[in-house]
Structure formats: structure tokens, C-alpha cells
Amino acid sequence: MAQCEAKCGTAEQEKKLRAVIEASRSTPGCLMHILQEAQGIYGYLPMQVQKIIAEGLGISLSEVYGVVTFYSQFSLKPKGKNRISICLGTACYVKGSDKILEEIEKELGIKCGECTEDGLFSIDSCRCVGACGLAPVMMINDEVYGKLTPNSVKGILDEYRGAKK
């Protein structure tokens, strides 16, 4: 049941989404804003959600899909409960953030862009969170971790593993 809810969304989520569409449909250029809100409601943008938006705005599904796939912030797949985002900006890269990414991939057994089977973690890379003074950095959800080394990664992940129990 939980699985299905995650896949197609609840009635409540749909109600929220329709309210957002109604509130902003008259603003010029509102599609991006609605998509951002929708991703906030559902966590990602499944096809069904895109259909609701297209119908609500009276535009084609292909136009909505085109915008969704253009911007890296929008995701067609669900993300993990804990979203890991490793900065691969230049300042972090020259300080070895690629090795941090490798270590996390190894530790979790998934690749960048994937989600662990238990849904606990997903890994993405990002371009600069602006904390270059702390390079290399990663974000887990909204928390920034700086001055990372390949050895310090496991301890941080363990904190989140512990929180599950």
C-alpha cells in the first residue's frame, strides 16, 4: 500500500497540487513555479503529476515534459529518504571531491543518480553549494558537511543509518 501511495500519490497530494495550479495559472511563466511546488509535494515528478499540470494549464504534456527534463533540479524518479548531494564544483574537485563520490558509491553500493534498495539514501552530484571555503563538501538533505576525507564519509552515513532504527 505504501508503495502504491508513493507511486501515484494520495488524494490529498493531488488536492494540494490542483490548488497550486489554480492559484498561479494566471501568472505569466508560472510552469516552473508549479513544477517546483509539485516536486515539493510529491518528492518527484511522475508522469501522472505532469499530466495533471498539463491539463490544468491547458498546455501539451510534451511541453511540460520538455521543461521537466531540461532542468537538473526536476526528477522523474523518486529520491531516497536521505538525499546525498556531492559537490563537484571546481573548488571541491581540485580538493578531491571525486574521491569522496567514489567512496560513497562504494559504501552504499549504488552509483551517482541512483537510490538504495531500502530507499534510505540516494546519491546525486551538484555544482557548487557555495561553501567553497569548506571544500570538499556534500549535502545530506539540507545539512552541509565540509572538509571531507574518504575516511570521514562512513561515520557520517552511519549517523543517518542509526536514525532509521
Partner: protein, 637 residues
């Protein structure tokens, strides 16, 4: 609000702000006027909040309460610049600069320094402010701050960005008042033209000319946009301005609206900057409430309002036409120019677009005059430039210097040199569109034209310092990965060109390069520069071309000798163990993920255990052994 009320706010809070700007003795006198014995400023920028400055504030407030101190004011400000030493806390009127604060440290400072007749806790200060004989010098005298000149960042780290009254007291909205009360739109544009201000987003187009084109365009509806889509990885100047002094951007956009005849502005800001977005929203609400945005601003009959639009993670949206397409709610693809935005921009109407740092310069130009501004910097590039100094440099952070400052001054004096005794190799400016400045050009004065002449560009202000451990082929590949990924796909030269360049570079870094690859790269690069639709594609080859110009031998070594001098390109690396240095502890073997390290039957003279050796056929070149060896016996060649 009327100008009188604006002035009243200014007078009310003036002393409070002045305490943070003047040196100790006068500061103490001023502090008496404010009713606060001391003010504690804590950085609430992204850099310091990432190193938990909010916990510092919490502890500070708790300690003050416990100690019963009521005459010390705590202020959450924007960035002080020295991000590597965060969280930073400055106590006025002394100007004591505490660095890398923890809640424990805060407690100590509160108990020993903030109490009545307290003393500065020297051991917790930024050690750059303590001389050898133990005297504390003002932080403005330290090498990091001494050579800087803060115009765009004038209020960052000085005011509380979430308090419009502090912003007003620090001078924000005074330029708007002057413009609306005593200048015509033409006066404003002439002042901009005379100042010589050029766009700080990268291309350096004269701001005054942009405005005059938009003013000349016919139309009843025009727009003013702010580009806060700071996409260059490693650059965070614009974010710091938005976080530290958001009102200066709102004020400047309103001035531009008056000058060109627009009544609506848009700020397009990266969604990855939650702190900045939040402060902007607060600033907008406050400005509307105080009548500094909206209808009949300051009673002069001029209407202007601003909306925020969030980006969604596309580098190309930093390009002006792509940004406008994105605000319109579409895929952020660039449009061919002409028509230029000043004629036909957002929603098909005349539009001007400037980036955050450019906007941050408007207020001082109006207040202090074009002549003052153009006297700073070089002849072709007036004013200052903010750089986000990062990479292999001691003082990572935000610096603002007059144009014409040399790279050497930035790296060696302000930046404090390269850590770990390594050698400076190059500085990368302009991000994925820019190039590298090699060590031999370290005395080049930095302005728009001299950087172009040496094959780099000013860019938006990211400056990444590279040391001898950086492979220039690898860094080019890094940038091409970025541009190939971020190419929007609309025009062929960029879409295919970036992919093909990346393939060629990958081939070279994998040790499969052939001599003709360099020729192919140069030919393709030249086609892309000429025929791509927007600046992303036109400048994507720059990182390769500039490294080829100054570090050609490195490319040739990769291709002909299959050698990576910096030891970065894995395919060309070999790890081995110096059997004379190895003491046989076996730590490397224990940590080797693929069991490629075993004991030999050789024991070096003076050692008790036989040394280890790496089986290169099994080795995956991860470097773990090297990181673990405490005797420097693992060699990478």
C-alpha cells in the same frame, strides 16, 4: 514613506552602524550613543552557517542571558569574506576578530570578554590579528583585508541583512532618494556612462550603454532583470551580496527602472541558494512595507515592483536570452541575437539584465559620483572586482580588489600563498568559459582586457588556484564534462562539439592519445567559437585552448610519453614501494581493497621486517596505500 521618515531611520541607527566601521577609540565614544556597550557580529552567510554559525548564535544568546548581560547586541550579518576560518564572530567597538568558533569557545568569550571590563581572549582570535609580541591589530590591517577595497561588498558583514532599518542607516536607498528627487532619467544614464562601469557577470559590456539602448526603445512596458543565477562552479560573489545586503540590489533595480521607464523587475536566482532566496523574500516584503517598492515610491510618483523567479539548475540560464526564456516558464534555451534584449527581451518587451555585483555598484556611483568611481581601477576597467578565491590557497574566501591588482598580490598577499609548501601552477578565472593564467603571467594586472589578451577572461569572479598537483589536461576535461552536460542542445556546434572535445580529452587522459588529436581539438575549437549560438558554446573551448597555449608540453607528455607529471591521470600511474624505505609494517597490505600488496623476502638494512611490494597487475591505483604509509615508502610515478 516620505524622505523625512527615511532620514529619521538613518539618524536613529547611524551610530549603531558606525561603531562597526570605525576604529576603537571613536568607536567606544559612539558605542555610548547606541546604548549598547558591545556589539557581536556573527556571520550568517552560507559558508559560516555550513560550519554551524547558528549554533554559535544560540550559545551566545544563552550565555548572555546566563551572565545577565543586557547591553550587548548580537547581530547576524552576511559574509565577512574569510570563509575558510568560519564560523567568524567580530566584537565591536574593539573589532576583535574571532575565528573557527565553537559553542565552547563562545562561552569562554562571553565569560571573559563580553562581561563588564572583560578582556579579549587572544588565543581564540584569528591569529593573523595577533602579532608576535602579543599585540592585537585591527583585522583591517591583516594581509587578507589590507589590500582590499570594498565597494560592492561595502555592507556585507556590516549590517543585519534581514533588518531594512540597518540597511537604510548604512546608506541603502539614499541613492534612490537622490535619483527620484533631483535627477532625470538621462542624468542617471549619463552618470552610468561616465562611471565606466562594465557588467560584472563576465562579458564586461558597459552598463550605461545597455541602459541607454533600453531607454531609447519604444514601448509602454519594459522590464529590469537581475541575473542571480550564479552558475560558475566555485563562484559565490553574487550569493554573498544577496545574503549580506539584499536591499542594495532592490534599490539599484528601482533606479534602473526609473532610468529606462520600467515598472516591473524580476530577480532570477538559483534555487540552490536557499539562504539568499529567503533573505531576498524578507527584503522584498520589508521594502514594500516601508514604501520603497510599489506605488508612488517615497512620494515621487514613481511605481516599481520586483518579483523573484527561481532557477532549477541549468548553467545555460546564466546567458541573458536563456534566462529570459526561463522566466517565461520554458526550457531555458538561448535565442539568436539580434534582436537584443534592450529591444525585444522578456515577454517580447525591451529589457535590461545585469548581474548582482553590477547592481551592487550602482548606489555608490550615484552617491559619490562617476568621477570618483572611474578614478578607481584601470583606464578601461573602472572600479573594483569581487573574486571568490578557492582551490589550493590558504585564505579561501571572498575578496574585493581594485581592477588592475596583480594576480601575485591576490595569491601571495591576500590569499596567503599555497598551502603545504606547494608551488603555484596557475589560476583559473572565468570558470567553464574562461582559462588559466600560468605562473609566468602572475604579474599581469587583472582587468577585462589584460585577461582577454592572455587567453583567459574576467568571468563572473570565480578564481580557482591550482598547484603542482593539478593536471591541466584533467582540469580541461573537468570543464568539458561540465559544458557537455550543460549544453542545452539547441545548436549543433555546441551540442556535438562539446561531446567530441570531451571524447578527445578522455582519450588523452586514458593514455590512448595520438599526436593528431591536438590538431583535431584546435580545429574543432575554432569552429565552435565561430558558430555556436550563445556564449556557452562559443567559450566552451576556452579552458582547453588556454591550457594548450601555456601547458602544451603536458598534453604532449600525455600523448607521446604516456606520462602525467602531476600524478592525476590514473591510466598513466604506477604505484610501487621503495624497498629501502619500507619498514614492513604491512599497513598498506591490510588496507589494500584488492589484496595487491604482499611481503617480499628482502629486508632493508636497519629494518626488522621484510619490505612489501605491489603487484601492478592487480593494482587498481586507488592510492589508499599511499595515504596509509607513514614512512613515505609508497611511490607514485
Amino acid at each position: 514613506m516620505t524622505t523625512k521618515e527615511l532620514d529619521a531611520i538613518r539618524q536613529k541607527k547611524k551610530a549603531l552602524i558606525d561603531v562597526r566601521r570605525v576604529v576603537k577609540e571613536q568607536g567606544e565614544k559612539l558605542a555610548k550613543e547606541t546604548g549598547y556597550r558591545k556589539q557581536v557580529l556573527v556571520c550568517g552567510g552560507t559558508g559560516c552557517t555550513s560550519s554551524h554559525s547558528m549554533k554559535v548564535i544560540d550559545q551566545l544568546e544563552k550565555s548572555l542571558k546566563e551572565l545577565g548581560i543586557k547591553d550587548v547586541l548580537v547581530v547576524k550579518t552576511g559574509c565577512f569574506g574569510l570563509c575558510a576560518l568560519g564560523p567568524i564572530m567580530i566584537v565591536y567597538p574593539e573589532g576583535a576578530f574571532y575565528a573557527q568558533m565553537t559553542p565552547e569557545h563562545v562561552k569562554t568569550v562571553a565569560e571573559k570578554h563580553l562581561v563588564k571590563d572583560g578582556e579579549i581572549v587572544k588565543e581564540l582570535l584569528y591569529q593573523g590579528t595577533v602579532t608576535k609580541d602579543g599585540t592585537v591589530i585591527p583585522f583591517a590591517e591583516t594581509p587578507f583585508y589590507k589590500k582590499q577595497m570594498r565597494i560592492a561588498l561595502r555592507n556585507c558583514g556590516v549590517i543585519a541583512p534581514e533588518d531594512i532599518e540597518e540597511a537604510i542607516a548604512a546608506g541603502d536607498y539614499a541613492a534612490l532618494e537622490k535619483v527620484l528627487s533631483s535627477m532625470t532619467p538621462d542624468d542617471v544614464i549619463n552618470e552610468m556612462l561616465a562611471s565606466g562601469l562594465r557588467g560584472r557577470g563576465g562579458a564586461g559590456f558597459p552598463t550605461g550603454r545597455k541602459w541607454s539602448f533600453a531607454k531609447a526603445s519604444q514601448g509602454d512596458v519594459k522590464y529590469v532583470c537581475c541575473n542571480a543565477d550564479e552558475g560558475d562552479p566555485g563562484a559565490f560573489m553574487d550569493r554573498s551580496v544577496l545574503e549580506g545586503d539584499p536591499h542594495c540590489v532592490l534599490e539599484a533595480m528601482t533606479i534602473a527602472g526609473y532610468a529606462i521607464g520600467a515598472h516591473q523587475g524580476y530577480i532570477y536566482v538559483r534555487a540552490e541558494y536557499p539562504v539568499a532566496v529567503n533573505r531576498l523574500k524578507i527584503a522584498l516584503d520589508q521594502a514594500r512595507k516601508y514604501g520603497l517598492l510599489g506605488k508612488n515610491i517615497l512620494g515621487f510618483g514613481f511605481d516599481f515592483d520586483i518579483d523573484i523567479r527561481l532557477g532549477a539548475g541549468a548553467f545555460v540560464c546564466g546567458e541573458e536570452t536563456a534566462l529570459m526564456t526561463s522566466i517565461e516558464g520554458h526550457r531555458g534555451e538561448p535565442r539568436p541575437r539580434p534582436p537584443f534584449p534592450a529591444v525585444k527581451g522578456l515577454f517580447g518587451k525591451p529589457t535590461i539584465l545585469n548581474n548582482v555585483e553590477t547592481w551592487a555598484n550602482i548606489n555608490p556611483i550615484i552617491l559619490k559620483g562617476a568621477a570618483w568611481f572611474s578614478s578607481i581601477g584601470t583606464e578601461s576597467s573602472s572600479g573594483t572586482k569581487v573574486f571568490a578565491l578557492g582551490g589550493k590557497i590558504t585564505n579561501v574566501g571572498l575578496v574585493e580588489v581594485p581592477m588592475g591588482t596583480t594576480l601575485r598580490e591576490i595569491v601571495e598577499e591576500i590569499g596567503g600563498g599555497i598551502p603545504d609548501g606547494k608551488k603555484f601552477k596557475a589560476a583559473q578565472t572565468g570558470g567553464p568559459s574562461g582559462g588559466c593564467i600560468p605562473a609566468e603571467c602572475i604579474d599581469t594586472p587583472i582587468d577585462y582586457d589584460s585577461l582577454l589578451a592572455i587567453g583567459s577572461m574576467m568571468g563572473s569572479g570565480g578564481m580557482i588556484i591550482l598547484d603542482e598537483d593539478t593536471c591541466m589536461v584533467d582540469i580541461s576535461k573537468f570543464y568539458l564534462e561540465f559544458t557537455a552536460d550543460e549544453s542545452c542542445g539547441k545548436c549543433t556546434p555546441c551540442r556535438i562539439g562539446t561531446k567530441r572535445l570531451l571524447q578527445l580529452l578522455t582519450k588523452i587522459t586514458e593514455g590512448k592519445g595520438e599526436p593528431e588529436d591536438i590538431v583535431k581539438i584546435e580545429e574543432l575549437a575554432s569552429h565552435m567559437k565561430q558558430s555556436s549560438l550563445c556564449a556557452l558554446g562559443q567559450s566552451a573551448p576556452n579552458p582547453i585552448l588556454s591550457t594548450l597555449r601555456y601547458f602544451r608540453k603536458e598534453y604532449e607528455d600525455h600523448i607521446n610519453e604516456k606520462k602525467c607529471e602531476a600524478g592525476v591521470c590514473k591510466a598513466m600511474l604506477n604505484y610501487s614501494i621503495d624497498k629501502e624505505k619500507c619498514i614492513g609494517c604491512g599497513l598498506c597490505a591490510k588496507n589494500c581493497p584488492v589484496n595487491a600488496i604482499t611481503k617480499t623476502d628482502y629486508t632493508a638494512p636497519g629494518h626488522k621486517l621484510p619490505s612489501m611490494a605491489i603487484d601492478s597487475s592487480k593494482c587498481i591505483k586507488c592510492g589508499v596505500c599511499m595515504g596509509n604509509c607513514r614512512f613515505g615508502a609508497v611511490v607514485r610515478k
